[in-house]
Symmetry: C2
Subunit: 194 residues, 2 copies
Amino acid sequence: MRFPQLVLRLPDWLEEALQDPGRVYLTAEERMTAVIRLAQLNVEHGTGGPFGAGIFEHEEGKLLAPGVNLVVPMSCSVAHAEIVAIAIAQRMVGCFDLGGLGMPRYELVTSTEPCAMCLGAVAWSGVRWLVCGARDEDARRVGFDEGPKPTGWQQALEARGIGVLADVCREQGAAVLEQYGRTGGLIYNARQGR
Amino acid sequence: MRFPQLVLRLPDWLEEALQDPGRVYLTAEERMTAVIRLAQLNVEHGTGGPFGAGIFEHEEGKLLAPGVNLVVPMSCSVAHAEIVAIAIAQRMVGCFDLGGLGMPRYELVTSTEPCAMCLGAVAWSGVRWLVCGARDEDARRVGFDEGPKPTGWQQALEARGIGVLADVCREQGAAVLEQYGRTGGLIYNARQGR
């Protein structure tokens, strides 16, 4: 084969960190605390950038799929936490649309507000809610180039039936970013050869 | 394992369609013609949506990695042609940055202007050029929700050192979209359960 398959694999520590498949995360804060912990563990284990995410059942509060940033270990710039969580969730339900007929309503919880790419991915994913921790500006302050995002993106999502809840545990999410920056974590922006 | 791996696999016909690994695509039109052919073949084989892409060496004209839309067959809303091409290319060079030190300058050629997600992915990828065929409005006319894109996105890419060339073989790219729409191809927008 001339062209390889793409394989993205969650880090080994992650299954252990989420041992109880029956656990219910009732509030937005509980869900955010869980994904910020994934971001923190991802940095501690050296398995990627300081970002965590999860797809939760909006009403019931069960975690369908987690995601962590895998850009550097997987040599894949699209392997952001949100993208990983969305793709794993869709694989688990066997459908490209997490908003399909007869499904529970799903929500994407992310430790930092989505970058331009992940914002676009949210619109395609089928989730009905987006819950954000740290802000875009918190990620940019550390040095990440979050890309060209439209002003009024919250309204653009809401016009598509996707509710947005921002600043949930923002300080805790931002603290993981700051620590990553302070301790010399790799800022994997593109075009570093110039 | 509670959570599956993500595996994205190019369709079998694709290796055969790109048999000559030494082939050089000298002009933007030649490169575009090649990726529009991938879009067309993807529809004919029933292996995904009407979109094709490729990462080419900007100066030398060799194809590093192709991509086609795999959203429906892979049950993965992020598996757009551009995302697939970028991720395969990065896997082939073993780096998350296609603009790394000592690399040739790479260009992303896509049969239709990137949606919001893929636009963000371009900024993270490391490519130095983006070459577009059909326009955003051609995809929206068929029914695809291309998502929230900022006005002036071309300038936002150019500010990052990514040149944009639009409307290359636009009619041919748009014709593949139109035919897909006319013949009842699945418009895989999200939240179809509502």
